[in-house]
């Protein structure tokens, strides 16, 4: 089971950033990301400005860097891609740290890295300062269709149940001497995944049944 407070990405606190209404934070994140993505990749001072702004917000939120930085590993696939770009892109060549690389690749890779890092850091800040159910309430206030909000609510609610089930299945596999060492063991993992999928699907049906039993009418608007 997860800790006391909601979710693994959430860092409990009472800063102004934590207290700000969730829908405003969502809009701020969306606006920030649109501006970052729309900025041409070579406007380095602009990116420095964005980063300064973000660092300022994080400082106010008092979420420790030691908490945010390890969670930035989700960006790794993008980093790998960005680092490869100067080597695989074509066009005019240039010298960089003693290596001959593609000039277009270098600018594109740098831009991807900067925009990606800003995006990940901004999203993590939102997640760290906003409880999942507050985010859902914020999305409702932003008039996101009710069905979509409900689907997200179910996802958050059952994420722990499904990961717990996945963990128990892994333990049961390993208790019978299974180790996923090579590609040859992938079929076992694949059938575990399909079993998990079917179980989750069936659970979905049981949850629906339990909702109907308490008079849920899918046609009626709940709120």
């Amino acid at each position: 089971m997860a800790g006391e407070h909601g979710h693994k990405l959430h860092f409990h606190g009472h800063s102004p950033v934590h207290r700000a209404p969730a829908h405003l934070k969502l809009l701020a994140l969306l606006g920030f990301m649109l501006v970052v993505v729309a900025t041409p990749g070579s406007w380095y001072p602009a990116f420095a400005g964005y980063l300064a702004l973000l660092v300022g917000v994080i400082a106010v939120s008092r979420v420790p860097w030691g908490y945010l930085l390890p969670r930035m590993v989700v960006e790794v696939p993008f980093v790998v891609f960005a680092v490869l770009m100067p080597f695989i892109a074509t066009g005019p060549q240039t010298e960089f740290l003693g290596l001959t690389v593609s000039q277009h690749g270098l600018t594109a890779g740098t831009a991807l890295l900067m925009k990606g890092t800003l995006g990940v850091l901004a999203s993590l800040t939102l997640a760290a300062t906003t409880e999942p159910h507050a985010l859902l309430a914020g999305l409702t206030r932003l008039r996101l269709p009710h069905q979509l909000v409900q689907i997200m609510a179910f996802m958050i609610r059952y994420l722990d149940v499904v990961t717990d089930e996945m963990r128990r299945m892994r333990i049961a596999r390993e208790s019978r001497g299974f180790r996923a060492r090579s590609v040859r063991q992938w079929p076992v993992l694949a059938s575990s995944a399909s079993a998990l999928f079917i179980r989750s699907y069936e659970r979905g049906e049981r949850v629906h049944l339990a909702m109907l039993a308490r008079g849920y009418d899918p046609q009626a608007e709940v709120r």
Binding site: A210, A213, G215
Partner: protein, 252 residues
């Protein structure tokens, strides 16, 4: 006698794949009774339960709750009258907080504002979970989740509470706490279970369902001490458990 809370007559049902689960079930439960529904795995207990609030529609026969037939046009009222607590509380608890989950049923019945808050508080009070109202359900212990699941149904003020394996996966202390909660409730109870000592403790009357028909209906002590009946329907008491050595059911 007065109109039974639960009146099942000649109920038969076959699943769409052709598997026939019920072959003409007759069952009457009167107000204030606590009845155990016993039977081996695959006897059709869950199928029967799903007919009580119209999730499944009978192939033949009728179901009525306090005189109101279980039909499409009555479904909303039927589902208020029949409160089903499912076996896995995780199937029943899906909201961000305990309070939202308990409010789900009464909200579907159209309750809002203060009346809704009062229902939620009362239901949580009855299961002793008031102080957990703002916690996310998935952070509670299994026993607490089971109790909240009972509260989600009590909040609809049902006329009959149907419990599917209420004691499964509970530790002995949670099992006893749930028994105390259930005996304190002023509501008719139908309890589906394999836990025969629990049936004896809570329900003065037991009904045995086997292969889609009711094969016994009587005092729980009589049913559990009928060795031939028990053996014929794959019912077994725990090792060294003697129903005759047990004092009368709780609250009686």
């Amino acid at each position: 006698m007065s109109t039974p809370v639960l009146d099942v007559r000649g109920l038969a049902y076959a699943y769409p794949d052709g598997h026939q689960a019920l072959f003409g079930v007759n069952l009457h439960v009167h107000a204030g009774e606590r009845v155990a529904l016993l039977g081996p795995n695959g006897a059709g207990k869950t199928t029967l339960v799903l007919h009580l609030n119209g999730i499944l529609a009978p192939g033949a026969g009728t179901v009525a709750v306090s005189g109101l037939p279980v039909e499409k046009k009555n479904l909303q009222e039927i589902r208020r009258r029949v409160g089903i607590v499912f076996q896995d509380p995780d199937d029943q608890l899906f909201s961000a907080t305990v309070r939202d989950d308990v409010a789900f049923g009464p909200r579907n019945l159209g309750l809002r504002g203060e009346a809704l808050d009062r229902r939620v508080a009362d239901a949580l009070e009855q299961v002793g979970m008031n102080e957990y109202a703002d916690r996310p359900p998935h952070h509670l212990s299994f026993g607490q989740r089971r109790r909240v699941a009972v509260a989600t149904v009590l909040a609809m003020e049902p006329e009959i509470l149907v419990l599917d394996e209420p004691s499964s996966n509970l530790d002995p202390a949670s099992r006893r706490e749930l028994a105390e909660i259930l005996t304190a409730l002023d509501v008719t109870v139908l309890m589906v279970t394999h836990d025969l000592p629990y049936a004896l403790e809570l329900c003065p009357r037991s009904v045995v369902l086997s292969d889609g028909v009711i094969v016994a209906d009587g005092a729980t002590t009589d049913v559990l001490t009928d060795a031939d009946l028990m053996r014929a329907h794959r019912l077994e008491l725990p090792f060294a458990f003697d129903p005759r050595a047990v004092p009368l059911s709780r609250g009686f």
